[in-house]
């Protein structure tokens, strides 16, 4: 069976799944709106975790949090289920498809056969929608892909039960009840306040302080770890910032798009002005990535060039500190 489901490509998988499921249920909500209301924007250095033998930085909220916060703030009721047994997970999925209910799934990327090989890492926080089953193949709407695709039963089981950090454990989710009218205004204010709080948090590895922290680490890496490792680490910072799904500039452009849309919806000129500022900050993140890439491209950088990119990050952190203080006052 195939559920009549419209696939829209999005930048980021989690926003995309939410936006597409909302649209399917008759509520037109854009990807940036989901991201903003769900307080997706973040900066966080995760000191104890290493991925691909390098430190981890995230530019977005923890997997699943955007969805959870969006649903709570808009009054949409969500059902979420995890499974210890792949058989039960499959049965529940099939049951939903029988009932014409497309569902969101959290999956691991490593065994996702339609991804280019180079992108297949052990990353377990990818999201997709399953919208049907034909000839024993599941019909897949993966928001980051231009077109829909399909996976065999075995292929889907593998990605649903990927192991490692953030193991999905068959995680399946879908909306079960909606408010009569979707009131975004209050939800937008809550979403913005929450993001400001996180970005200005008095914690050394989160938000603005976290950006300063990474800048300080970048200055130390070449001496402490050697050029090769320092470049590997720096490359990972850029990859996390610009990876597929960020929409560019470590999610700053998606957030700017949200502020613009929110400003129009609330009739708030300040938000529209701040959207422009966020775009400029996004451009600075891009400049940082470009400068950093010059270091790891040449592989023989001097300590000076590390200090230079660290300076860029410190500057961005200073700007974001002012920015989020202004944003807090604007609503």
């Amino acid at each position: 069976m195939e559920i009549d489901f419209t696939h829209h490509q999005s930048a980021h998988c989690e926003n995309g799944v939410v936006s597409n499921l909302m649209k399917h249920n008759g509520f037109s909500v854009s990807e940036p709106m989901v991201f903003g209301i769900g307080s997706g924007l973040l900066f966080c250095y995760i000191p104890l975790l290493k991925v691909n033998h390098a430190p981890v930085i995230t530019y977005r909220a923890m997997p699943g949090h955007i969805f959870k916060k969006f649903a709570k703030r808009t009054g949409v009721k969500m059902k979420r289920e995890k499974f210890s047994n792949p058989k039960d997970a499959k049965a529940r999925l099939d049951e939903n498809l029988e009932k014409n209910n497309p569902v969101g799934l959290q999956v691991g990327v490593y065994n996702l056969v339609y991804f280019p090989d180079e992108y297949r890492f052990h990353f377990n926080a990818h999201n997709m929608v399953v919208y049907g089953k034909e000839n024993n193949r599941y019909l897949i709407s993966d928001p980051v892909m231009e077109n829909v695709t399909s996976l065999s039963e075995k292929e889907l089981e593998k990605v649903r039960f990927a192991k490692g950090a953030f193991a999905p454990k068959g995680h399946m989710y879908y909306p079960i009840a909606f408010p009569e009218k979707l009131e975004l205004e209050k939800a937008i204010v809550k979403g913005i306040k929450d993001t400001c709080k996180a970005m200005l948090a008095p914690v050394s590895f989160v938000g603005v302080k976290g950006i300063h922290k990474i800048a300080a680490l970048i200055r130390k890496w070449p001496k402490k770890k050697g050029i090769k490792t320092a470049n590997h680490y720096l490359g990972q910072v850029v990859r996390m910032q610009e990876e597929i799904g960020t929409g560019g500039g470590g999610f700053r452009y998606i957030y700017a798009a949200f502020l613009q849309e929110a400003g129009k919806l609330l009739g708030n000129e300040k938000l529209i002005k701040l959207s422009k500022e966020m775009t400029d900050i996004g451009d600075l993140w891009r400049d940082f990535a470009l400068e950093a890439s010059r270091i790891y491209k040449n592989r023989s950088a001097q300590t000076d060039s590390y200090n230079k990119v660290a300076d860029q990050l410190d500057h961005i952190a200073d700007l974001e500190k002012v920015f989020f203080k202004k944003l807090k006052k604007a609503i």
């Binding site: 490509q9 999005s10 930048a11 940036p32 290493k50 691909n52 033998h53 490593y110 339609y114 991804f115 280019p116 090989d117 180079e118 992108y119 297949r120 890492f121 052990h122 980051v144 892909m145 231009e146 077109n147 192991k163 490692g164 950090a165 193991a167 470049n231 590997h232 490359g235 990972q236 850029v238 990859r239 610009e242 990876e243 597929i244 799904g245 929409g247 560019g248 500039g249 452009y253 998606i254 700017a256 798009a257 613009q260 849309e261 959207s275 422009k276 775009t279 996004g282 451009d283 891009r286 990535a289 470009l290 950093a292 890439s293 790891y296 491209k297």
Partner: protein
């Protein structure tokens, strides 16, 4: 970023024939989306990361042949895993997996344990025991 500045560099996305979605502003300052075929700074970062993994695989292979580690470590690297990820796939503690890296311990592993690893790596037990196959 302006819509017309969204980079259209060559990247690894080409092989899968897809473009990613970016957010950018049009000439009137309105936000819109644009597909991007790739951006060099991140393509270089990704290629370096892949090169790094390939070096790790080669290094592990050499050490297996030199009798310094077991093929489990080689296959772990081949599958872009680290000890933590491999441990969670086979369902052993990390210290146990590390112990299985020792050639003397590896030689005495039961068929069942070997099969555990072979299944995760999607190979036969013989292929696990002899990496040149």
């Amino acid at each position: 970023m302006k819509k017309k500045e969204v980079p259209q560099d060559k990247s690894n996305l080409e092989s899968a024939n897809f473009k990613e979605l970016c957010y950018a502003v049009d000439d009137n300052g309105e936000y819109t989306t644009e597909r991007s075929s790739g951006w060099e700074p991140k393509t270089v970062a990704l290629n370096n990361a892949i090169e790094e993994i390939n070096e790790r695989i080669e290094d592990a292979k050499k050490r297996v042949i030199a009798g310094e580690t077991s093929p489990i470590e080689y296959y772990m690297e081949l599958h872009k895993m680290d000890v933590g990820i491999l441990a969670s796939y086979v369902g052993f503690w990390q210290w146990k997996v590390k112990r299985h890296f020792r050639p003397s311990v590896f030689r005495k592993l039961s068929h069942k344990t070997l099969n555990n690893y072979a299944e995760v790596f999607e190979i036969s037990v013989e292929e696990l025991q002899n990496i040149s196959k």
